[in-house]
Symmetry: none
Subunit: 118 residues, 4 copies
DNA sequence: GTGGTCTAGACCACA
DNA sequence: GTGGTCTAGACCACA
């Protein structure tokens, strides 16, 4: 389910966070479904449980999952998941648009990139 | 001219790189003009010369400045500066568009962000 | 494994870069194997860790190794290593051929050097 | 006659050396002709006379020019000039061929680069 | 334990 | 005076 890329510059825990978000937003992990336990995922990925723990803690802080003491970690509601993710993307997008405006790129220049990519 | 943000998680040398790029692309530092010397900028920002050195070395590697031993560091040509910066922005933009597509945001959704921001 | 030459005018970090490339391309350090840690190599060569750090950073930038925070530095795939090195050599070769042409040395003159050396 | 390139990584005095060698080997400066004086060349290139002085000293050390006290600097004999330059190129060429051999490039691989460039 | 960033300061090459 | 390299050593993020 999760493939770690050690050549990726991002830290492992961050890769796990991003991959989990994707799995949830795309419905591979359904809303309110239980996530793999810290220990089992650590074994599966052959990494230290601390690293999984850190990823889960951050996902909870951001609202993507909720933890139930003694039971485990669970995916948030679909609507919530999508809202969170869309907000993230909008934020990054606006940041770039500001950079673009600063150096005088017009909205049309931007649009062209949007339309012509690939 | 440059304000360092010590709360920012990005390393200092990276903040300097970004700020210098902006100053050059926006023409505050004109093309082929000499940049502040490693030592003088270090004093001005109250940081170690090695950190400035690192920022300048990276700026040169990326083509934004050229360095002449015994003389100093100089801004590249305007055309070059702009090309480099536009490429950077396009690259970041395409990256985000891919993320957006992954979670099913349509190009129209994107366009709306572009048009309605602020 | 690595011998530094202090009489050599080239900086130490560059000597390390070249030597490491050779060790990897020749298979002494196998693909994806872990390189000596920054600290241990610094001790072994009796030089400052920063100098090793710089060499490794440059090797990574050029694609010869990849670095994983918290784990270490690792050699790239064999195919990649060889491609990178062959390109380097071709580039240097073409540069010399141009110098040779400038002073009127024919391709045959060059061939003779290639065939008769040693 | 001489164009300095400040964006070139090589120091100025080295650029002068190389350009002078070329002018002499190609006959633009005929054998035994007088070279421009240190002072006049310094003015022409708008650089410090010390830099010219250093270039001339190195050219003399390598045998490309000879100086006559009170008169100036003069180009060596044509035969000598060419021999020196050819030796330089051969030396660099052999150095590369060794690097190529080290990583297992065959002479044929080399030949192909020689034949197919441009 | 591992890499990455930074400081304080020295020394060299070059102009 | 200017950039480039290096040492000695500290502290942080990550696994």
């Amino acid at each position: 389910m999760i493939n770690l890329d050690y050549k990726d510059k991002r830290p492992i825990y961050e890769q796990i966070i991003d991959k989990m978000k994707e799995l949830m937003v795309m419905g591979v992990i359904p809303e309110n479904a239980q996530l793999p336990s810290v220990r089992s995922l650590a074994v599966e990925l052959s990494i230290n449980p601390n690293t999984i723990q850190r990823a889960y803690a951050e996902l909870e802080r951001q609202g993507y999952i909720y933890s139930v003491k003694g039971k485990g970690n669970f995916a948030a509601d679909n609507e919530r998941l999508r809202d969170l993710k869309v907000d993230e993307i909008k934020e990054r997008l606006i940041e770039i648009l500001d950079s673009a405006k600063k150096i005088g790129m017009s909205d049309d220049d931007i649009m062209n990139v949007v339309k012509n990519r690939r």
